[in-house]
């Protein structure tokens, strides 16, 4: 029926160039890198488990880099070495964990209870626009979005509802360009849930942060690409869409639905 239709030569050449350039840019990077990251995470986990396991060591891991100083300072008193450094170190260690939220730095944003950092579900779109630098109407002509640096970088998309004047319908976080598994340096800039899960977090990290979590379904019906859904106390949901092989979080959506809508920004 459409046998005589052929790709427009110019457009076809342009698409071919985009495909070839994409492969050239990404070849040998993503798969090898993922494996390296997995290996690194496995090594860290293994070393934690081997050296004693549990929360105590996880804390120790943070505290020990500075300790060489405190330990020798504690002069002669015999009692156990830990009590003295621990109380002094704990506040120091706790402070940097919760940095103040910076509207221009999505790595400081918390995802949960109908919000992603300064962005709130159901808020007027003007409020969203005012709360995040660079959040302006994107090329869809409908959604507001902001990319924090040159792509690929963390990207926040805020579609309002379908009618003019509708408030924020959902908040979508990914890496601009739909990167399947971002570079760890980019993933580190993602907003995160209170349990520390952001774009680029691995499946293992997700399962460790939310023990027992199960896929809520597949992103596309009949496909094998899962998503996870976290109910929030205000009735909203955090949806975590996984990447192609299900090994990492590709995008995170906060909305009133337990799955990402197929269509938005249109």
């Amino acid at each position: 029926m459409t046998d005589r239709i052929r790709f427009d030569r110019e457009r076809g050449d342009a698409w071919k160039t985009v495909i070839v350039d994409t492969v050239t840019a990404e070849a040998g990077k993503a798969p090898g890198l993922s494996k390296r990251v997995i290996a690194l995470v496995s090594l860290i986990v293994a070393s934690l488990l081997l050296s004693g396991g549990g929360v105590a060591l996880a804390l120790g891991f943070k505290i020990f880099p500075p300790p060489p100083a405190p330990v020798p300072t504690s002069t002669s008193p015999a009692p156990v070495q830990t009590p003295t450094p621990t109380p002094t170190e704990t506040p120091t260690a706790a402070a940097p964990v919760v940095p103040p939220m910076d509207p221009g730095d999505p790595s400081t944003w918390i995802i949960g209870d109908g919000a992603v950092g300064p962005l709130q579900l159901s808020a007027p779109i003007e409020d969203a626009e005012a709360s995040v630098p660079g959040l302006t109407v994107d090329n869809s002509g409908w959604c507001h979005s902001s990319t924090f640096g040159d792509a690929p970088q963390i990207d926040v998309i805020v579609p309002p509802g379908p009618q003019p004047g509708d408030p924020v319908q959902l908040i979508y976080v990914d890496v601009a360009g739909g990167v399947d598994r971002p570079d760890p340096a980019i993933a580190a800039k993602s907003p995160k849930t209170e349990a520390g899960i952001g774009v680029g977090s691995s499946l293992e990290e997700l399962q460790a942060a939310y023990p027992g979590i199960q896929p809520a379904g597949n992103i596309v019906e009949g496909d094998q690409q899962p998503f996870y859904a976290l109910p929030q106390s205000d009735g909203s949901w955090i949806t975590l869409d996984m990447n192609a092989d299900g090994s990492a979080v590709r995008d995170i959506v906060v909305s009133r639905q337990a799955r990402t809508p197929k269509e938005f920004c249109a």
């Binding site: 239709i5 427009d8 985009v18 492969v23």
Partner: protein
């Protein structure tokens, strides 16, 4: 189901390992067939071209799970075209960075209207698109592969990763639905003549 004169298994092996020129060859070999299928799912040549391009980006992104059947990935590409067309805006967003590198489609202002008009005015095209859109996604996949693209049911089963019996059942169910849809539409009935 293999395209004529290039060694697709070799090209695909090279493509999977990240050879950019192999992706160029695969695109050249399959783009018109994927475009033809995408045109059944979209309302404009421009959209169909973008769906086609995104199909290949998706194939690159998911190269580890692309199914090669009888030495060709065409079946997987066609099913992926279904998914991308269904997910419209979401797919566009996923590949936004790539799409933004494309030049604006100048042909929309010259010969495209004539072509687009021909596509949209063609009652058979519109009828097939409407009937196809009314099917569930799983039925769309099986009709696309077995009826529109004439793969065997065994090939379709391998492309979709489901048992042959599942394809038979889905095809039978989809044919019944299409038969109901086409019952009062002579044009559609003729366009989908092989379905009953």
């Amino acid at each position: 189901m293999t395209e004529s004169s290039f060694d697709e298994p070799t090209a695909w092996a090279a493509a999977r390992s990240g050879d950019p020129s192999a992706w160029g060859e695969l695109f050249e070999a399959h783009r018109d067939r994927v475009l033809g299928h995408a045109l059944r799912l979209t309302r404009s040549l421009h959209d169909a071209e973008d769906v086609t391009g995104m199909v290949f980006l998706e194939a690159w992104r998911r190269r580890d799970v692309v199914r090669e059947v009888n030495g060709s990935i065409i079946g997987w590409l066609l099913v992926t075209a279904n998914n991308i067309a269904r997910n419209g805006a979401r797919s566009q967003r996923r590949f936004r960075a790539a799409i933004e590198k494309l030049p604006k489609p100048e042909h929309e202002t010259d010969f495209a209207p004539e072509l687009l008009g021909r596509i949209d005015d063609d009652p058979r095209h519109a009828a097939v698109r409407a009937a196809f859109a009314a099917l569930s996604s799983k039925d769309q996949d099986v009709i696309a592969l077995c009826v529109l693209e004439e793969l065997t049911m065994a090939e379709a089963a391998r492309v979709l990763g489901v048992p042959l019996g599942t394809v038979k059942a889905r095809l039978s169910r989809a044919k019944v639905k299409l038969a109901k849809t086409t019952a009062d539409d002579a044009t559609l009935s003729s366009a989908l003549g092989g379905v009953r």
